[in-house]
Structure formats: C-alpha cells, structure tokens
Symmetry: C2
Subunit: 542 residues, 2 copies
C-alpha cells in the first residue's frame, strides 16, 4: 500500500452547509483557487442539484479552477467533484457541472444504516442494494471517476456494508468513502470498521478507501487518523473544520498531525502547509464563522512562540514547548506591508503575492479603497489587505448600495442613525431611525427603506489586526421573517428556513456593521427573486 | 477497577493561563461555584506561588466553595487543589491557600523528559528523582492528598517514568497525573503509555492515575479517552477546552463522549451535564475567549435540532441525525424570562435559579440595570441576565468609571467621541478625540485622560442574544506599552508581558466598547500598583 494520502476538501460542499456559511459564487471561486494553492487533491465544489445557482457555481469552478489552463501553473489541476443523491436527476446535474474539469468526479451516496433505511429512505436492504448498483453504473457511464458513500456507515451493519461496497465497485465506483455521518464513532471502532471493509470487500484492492468524519464528540481528527492507519488513502476534510453541527474533520489538524508525527504515521500529503493560515483566514472571512483562539493549528493562540524568533541557541530550547514552527503553517510576523505612500505598483505586487487574481478595473477600485484606508491607518498588513479584498470583490450582486451613513450615540440614550441607500433603480432614499444602540438604529433605518422583514440571528465584530486603529470586520446572519426562501434538508426530509450571511470591513465599526447587514439583505433579496427564477436549494450531508 | 472517572477541572489554573484570560478574584469565585454546580470532583483553583493575588484567590475558593458549609448543600464539597513547582516555597504557598478546604490537595510537578531535564531544569535523572522524593514527601507531610505530575511525560523514557512514579508513590503521592504537556502524542501511544505505567509502576494499584492532555494536534479528547480506557481514573480538563496554545482537553467533550457511548466505555462521571452550557457561557464571558460555532457540544451550531422539539413520533426519527439531545447539556429554548413589567421579586428569583448568589445591595444595583435594559429591549433572556451580571458584579476594583460618552460617526469621516471619566479621587475629567472609527475615538479620548500607554491586542463584539435590539458584549485585550507588569513563565524561564482582558455589555456597542476598554485599563492599573505591593505573577503549564 502506498503512503500518499489524498486530501479531499469539502469546505465548499459540507462546510458551506453550516448555518449562515452561504457564500457567493465569486467567494466560492476564490476559495477554490486557495485550495489549489494549498495543494488539495480533490475539491468537492458543491451539490449541483440543489439549485441552478449551485450548479452554476460548481460549473464555474470546474472551468476556471479545474481545467489545466485555468490554475495558471503547469501542475495537474485538482479533481473537481460534484455531489449527487442516488438519483438520475442529481447525477445528471452533477455531471453537467463538473464535466468541464480536466479531472471530473461524481460523488453519489445512499444510506445503509438500519435507522436511515427505515425512517428516512423507507427502503429495505434489497432495494438499497439495487439502487446503489443502478446509480453507480449510471454515474460511471458518464464519468470515469465515481465516488460512492454509504451514508451513516458508522452505524451500519458491517456485513451489509461489505456487500453494498462490493457491488458498488463492480458497478464502477473507484473511490469508496466511509462517512461517520453523525459523529458517533470512536477511533478504535472506526479503525476496526475500515480494516474490516478492506479485508472483506471484494475488489477493494483496486479502489481508494476514503474517510469522512464529523466532530460531534470532538473525535473527528482522531477517527480520520485511525481510518488512515487502517488503510484509507483519502481523507475528507474542511478548512477550520467547518460543517453542519460541530463540523467536519479539520484539514489543518489531519495534515499537521501526519507531518509532525511522520515517524509514527509514515504517510505524506500533497499539501503546502505554509498556505494553511491564509486559507483559514479566507474561509473564516467569507463564511463569517470565527475560529476560536484555542483552535488547534489555526487559532490565534495556537503557537507558544511568535513567528520569526530565531536567535542563536534558542531553537533547541524552544522544542521544549514547541512541536511545530508557526512558519510551517504560514504564520508570519505581522508585516508592515504598505503605508500611505505606497504606490499602485507595490499594492498590485502585494495582492499578486497574496494570490489574488484581480482585473485592472477591480485593481483601480481596490487601490482607491486602499488609499482611503492608508489615510486612516498608519500601516496596512496582509490581513488588512485580505479583509479589504474580501469586502470589495466578493459581495453579492448589489441590489442596494450604501450611499451615506451618519450616527450619533453614547450614554445619553437616543442613539440615532441616518442612512442613505441607492436602490436597484439608481435612485437614493434616506431614512433616520432611533434604536437601542447605533447598530440597531442603522439597521432600523435600512429596514425602513428596504422592507424585507428579517430576524438577526448573529452579529459579531472583530478587529482584523491589532492596534487601536484596527480595521473592524463585521459578520451578520439573518433569516427572512416570512420563513422563505427554504432549504430542503434531504437528511430530515424537511424544509428549513435558509439563512444569509453578510460581511463588511471598515475602520468605523458602525459603517462596517451597516455594510455587513446590507450585504446579507442583498443576498436575501437575490435569493427571493433570482432573476425571476424560483429557487429551491437543497442541502445534504454525508 | 471501578468505573468512576474523576473530573479534575483546571479552568482556573491551566485555562486561566490562556493569553488574556486573566480573571478577577470575584470572577474566579463565580467560576468555582459553577464548577461545584456542574459536579466536578476536583477544582484546581490556581497556582498560589505565582503572586499574593493568586494565593488569595485560591484561599477564597478553598474557604467559600471548598468548605462543607460554603457550597450551600449537604453534599461533600469538591477537592480544592493548588499547583506547586517541586520546591518548598511553592508547596508552602499551595498549602497555605488550600488548607482551609474540607478536602485540600497539593499538586506538584517536575519534568522527566530528556529535553526538559537538559534544557529547562539542567538536572540529570538522579537529581530529578531525588527532588521528586524530597518534595512529594514534604507535600505529604502537610496534606493527606498529594498529586504528582512528571511534566512532559508524553516525551519521557517510560522506564524512567516507572521509576520516578514508583518513588513518588513511596514518598506519599496519592494521584499520579500523566501530562502530554506539548500536545504531541497520539491516542495509541498514550493508551500504551498509561497501560505501561499501570503495569510497571510498583504500588500504583493504590493510587489514582490521571491524564492531562493538550490539543495542539486536535487529539486531546481522543488521547484522554484512550488514557481512561487504559485504566486512568481521573481526567484533567477545562471548560471550552481553554488553555495555553491550542488549549486543554474539553470537559464537555470527554463527559459527553463517555455518556453518549456508555455501552462502549462503561464508565460514569459525577457531572450534571445539564449545567454544561451555562458553565461554557460563563467561562467564555469572563475570559473573553469565544467559542466557535462549530465547537463540539457547546458551539452555537453543535446541535442539529433545536431544543424543545418533542412532537409525537418525531423522537425516533430524529435519532437519524442526532446522537445527543440539546437538553442533555442544558441548551434550552430561548426563554422570554422577563420583560419591563417584571418586578424585583421575579428578577431575584430568576437570578437565584441561574445560580447567582447576590447580596441585597448588589441586587438593587442589578435590578436598576435590568430596568434600564428592559426599557430598551422587549424581552430579557437568561443570556442577557448572565451578561448583565458579569458586567455588573465581576469588574475589577474600579479605578476609573465611565461617567458619560457621546459619539458621532458615519461615512462622512471624522468620527468623534467625547468621554467623561470619574477618577480614583472622585473628580471627573472630560476629553474629546477624533479616531479612525468611533471606538478608536473613544479609546483615544480615554487614553488622553488615563495616560497608561498600551497596545490593543484583541477586540471583539458579539450579540448576546438574537434579535436586532440585542445586548452587545465586547471583550478587549491589552498589554502595557512599556512591557510591564511581567509574568514569569516557568516553562521557558523567561518573562513575558502580561495581558489584561476587559469585558463590557450594553445595547450600544460603542458604550460596551468603552466599558470593556476601561475594565481592561483598570486591571492594568491595579496590577501596576496593587495597593503599593509589587507583583510578579508566574505561569506554569503541566
């Protein structure tokens, strides 16, 4: 058995299903580019049958990131994978989305645990087996690379699993993914399950066995490693471990455990670990899902020592409390990259170094923003630039834009905001409102103009960089008050109200708050009236 | 071997060493009360030799929480433990602090790995062995309950470990704690290490073996469970997994893994799991260390289904994607506890239900705050009450108080804040300042009055509850610009600049930001001039 572990990143599929993590098509594309730079082997780009928007986002990634020309290097592009339930329609949609990639993959799944077959599928074992054979064959008739997942494998009867997997292989599956869908299993159990599958499934020697774990009991990384040690050669992971409930296995934890303890595992990945921090920040910015300071590898406190400390004789000493160098995951000293006297050339060069592919027109807009920021803030770091780019380029197609905001507040009470918005028809409207605080007042003023009743589910602000003049980043999450649009959850087979995240950055946190709310409102408006098309997105977890 | 796992909580010691997690004495006492309610067996209350303040905080906990009368119930109070390096001075200080508890414990430690002995201790094996015998004996001469930890056990030679542990037992140690200090070990290795220790250490059958893991590779929970399965009967953990670097093992993950998979582990704890969420929120509030939404058990997204859903016939169906009920960890439906017409009696009753022991004077102050809040916000939830209580009661002894704040900001630029502070001498001072944003302006105005130059290291805001009129909570972390006061880090044997966290809650986030900054500044001022006493706190990790 070879010692290469394929990293299958599902940040854009399972990760994006986290409440509020909805990303725009442009954001998804930028995440996919970041994943290429990180060196992942497979990008699960989405679930194309969920909605025309989802299909289009996967198709764009297949074309722009998954084609040999698209990624800008001579390296083999990553496999671009689309998820599909075990139905012809889903598989057709997945194929339509990924077929433009140089290396396309269709990933289909069907539950095999008793509880799922009985209560969700309402199918017996024979029917499940038949459907798997039929749909894997169909997928294989379209695409040479087919992955099959027996959903809730962790709670399935192993004997039935061997049978289903064996038939899936005969039907043409090339990768067999074993998900612990509910995050229930322990490392010993999962290692034994994978070992049993490898030992007892006919034909498995010609396939890749994959593991897909969830972190409900805090065991996702340990389970993934146990599966790999038992012979799995693909790990399904997400950046920062985002995903439904307690999330998926963290890419960074699995990769750094394999790297740091190489003599124990004797396994390698294709990941350029120095890109980990950047990917972590990008995904956190776009999804609005914060990383706690004590998160392994990518948390703000994860390293005992600051980057860049290399005094003579210190290195050996440091190993007393340091098992990884911060530089290994791309934590660099806060660099005073740019200031107010930096020119357009230096700005462009730095953006390119950071990996942003920005058009000349966008560059002009970004440079203008940069100059305004540089006037307020003495030193502009990489993190500031990333926030600025995220704020400038990856907003949804704007329905309303913020044309002006004026706020008065304090301990005297009566916090008041006046907001001027430019509407889709180009006209401006102005409204003033009083609120419980300045953000509430600004939101009420915007509500008076936009009239899209919603519940604010989450509101958070953090400073992008240290320093009292820091750029503030705000993320909000809203849902429509009328309960629409809905997501169809194929797991529980129920509809649920879709939530929308918005993101804004500004040195004035009230302005950043207004931008974030407007971004979320715009997403809500677009989803409610997507060019006149009805939209019924579905979400799935394997 | 019995099947009871002792839960040893070190939130107040190892957890409090997280950068910025510094808590006031009153906050520590409230955390200790919460730990009693949670049902932990041992509270490691601090490291008394660090500073007179630390000693006093541990002593207060020993007296008010660790005495049979103190906790208000007839149950046996928890063991109160103080940490001590292997020196007479440290052990004396620890004893002085914990001796008032009904069940006191001294926890002493010395490193046993080659790298630590050579580079940190500059001692050889013989010297280490001799010191362990001497200091464990000394601790035992003071206290019947002595815990010994061989620091960096995960990277120590097992044969030497057996020898050291055997001698520690002969010298009187009753609990042997095996720390993976650097978060380096894998579950298989750790299980084997614990099994080896139990098999090869003379006299260990009369002691409790304990495990203490760190999460640098995301494996702390799995390692702890592996240690327990190999025979350890005490787990050292923290609420939310806080601690230095990537933190310690999470109490909630270990406890819920044992509960949820009881048939696999066949082990029990004394934890009342319904208190978990409350403890999580309290610790997050006091330390300012946020919990990410995808954190297992206590993250905002951790549960697939909302609390309180109990329709007929749904329960079985829910198990398709649910391995724990949210109610089991104390996630309750957002309760509309109180409103503006609620009286003092209802308010007091609810605070008592939430477990706050508030004096009549404090109750008056809190009720006044409550009425002001209720005027602004329609419904006041438990989370609002907790934020209010945290904000009102657990602030440091105030040097400066916020007497007034007035802010103007928006997209027109020139954000301006006017601040009026009441100083230690009772006089008020007023200053106006312009900043990059309203928070920056307010902070600059306060700086102009207080003149304690500092670096803002972290700034974050979140809404306590959903809803557009939510109470905003701000946490900040600062360090003095002159690099003082220092913490002495016994690990790296270097000084490091101490950081101070502050916390503020208000419906106006600019007001909350001002309160948080002032709280951090007050902590900084108190630490710089603590009643004229010099202070040289130390921090340690095992």
């Amino acid at each position: 058995m070879n010692n290469y572990i394929r990293i299958f990143d599902t940040t854009l599929r399972d990760g994006e299903q986290s409440p509020g993590a909805t990303m725009t098509s442009a954001e998804k594309l930028e995440v996919a580019r970041t994943l290429v730079r990180l060196g992942v082997d497979v990008i699960e780009a989405g679930f194309p049958a969920a909605s025309p928007d989802d299909l289009e986002a996967v198709r764009r990634i297949a074309i722009e990131v998954g084609s040999a020309r698209g990624d800008g290097t001579s390296k083999r592009p990553p496999i671009i994978c689309g998820l599909a339930r075990a139905s012809k329609n889903d598989i057709d949609k997945a194929w339509e989305a990924v077929k433009h990639a140089a290396c396309p993959r269709i990933h289909t799944f069907l539950a095999t645990s008793e509880i799922h077959m009985q209560y969700k599928l309402k199918m017996d074992r024979e029917q499940v087996l038949e459907r798997v054979i039929e749909m894997v064959s169909y997928a294989r008739s379209l695409c040479q690379d087919v992955e099959f997942s027996p959903e809730d494998a962790g709670r399935s009867d192993p004997q039935f699993l061997y049978l289903v997997l064996g038939e899936a292989i005969k039907a043409g599956a090339t990768t067999l993914n074993i998900p612990d869908t509910v995050g229930y299993i322990t490392p010993d159990e999962f290692g034994a399950l994978i070992a049993g599958i490898i030992k007892n499934t006919p034909g498995i020697e010609n396939c890749i066995v994959s593991v897909h774990c969830h972190d409900d009991l805090g065991l996702a990384t340990a389970n993934t490693l146990a599966g790999i040690q038992a012979g799995a050669r693909q790990a399904e992971v997400t950046i920062n471990g985002i995903g439904e409930r307690a999330g998926n296995t963290s890419l960074e934890e699995v990769v750094m455990a394999l790297n740091t303890r190489r003599p124990v595992f004797n396994l390698v990945t294709g990941i350029d670990t120095t890109q980990i921090m950047r990917a972590s920040r990008l995904v956190s910015n776009y999804t609005g899902i914060v990383v706690q300071p004590n998160k392994a590898i990518v948390g703000a406190n994860a390293f005992a020592h600051e980057a860049g400390i290399h005094q003579d004789g210190m290195l050996k000493h440091q190993q007393t409390y340091e098992i990884m160098r911060p530089e290994a995951v791309g934590v660099t000293q806060t660099r005073l990259v740019l200031g107010k006297h930096s020119g357009r050339h230096a700005f462009k060069a730095r953006l390119y170094e950071l990996g942003y592919a920005v058009s000349e027109t966008d560059l002009d807009k970004a440079f203008e923003r940069f100059k305004i920021l540089a006037d307020k803030k003495k030193t502009i770091t990489d993190a500031d630039l990333e926030a600025l780019v995220a704020d400038e380029f990856y907003q949804p197609s704007q329905v309303y834009t913020l044309d002006g905001l004026q706020v008065a507040c304090g301990t005297m009470g009566m916090p008041t905001a006046t907001v001027r918005l430019r509407g889709p028809d180009g006209t401006t409207q102005i409204q003033a409102a009083v609120g419980t605080g300045p953000v509430d007042a600004a939101y009420k003023a915007m509500d008076a103009i936009i009239q899209a009743p919603n519940n604010l589910l989450e509101f958070s602000v953090h400073a992008v960089t240290g320093g009292i003049d820091a750029l503030g980043e705000v993320t909000v999450r809203i849902e429509s008050k009328n309960g629409h649009p809905l997501s169809f959850d194929t797991q529980t087979e129920t509809d649920r109200t879709r939530t929308f995240g918005g993101h804004g950055a500004d040195t004035d946190i009230i302005v950043a708050s207004a931008k974030a709310y407007l971004a979320a409102l715009n997403k809500l408006l677009v989803a409610t009236h997507p060019d006149g098309q009805a939209e019924a997105p579905a979400v799935i977890t394997t």
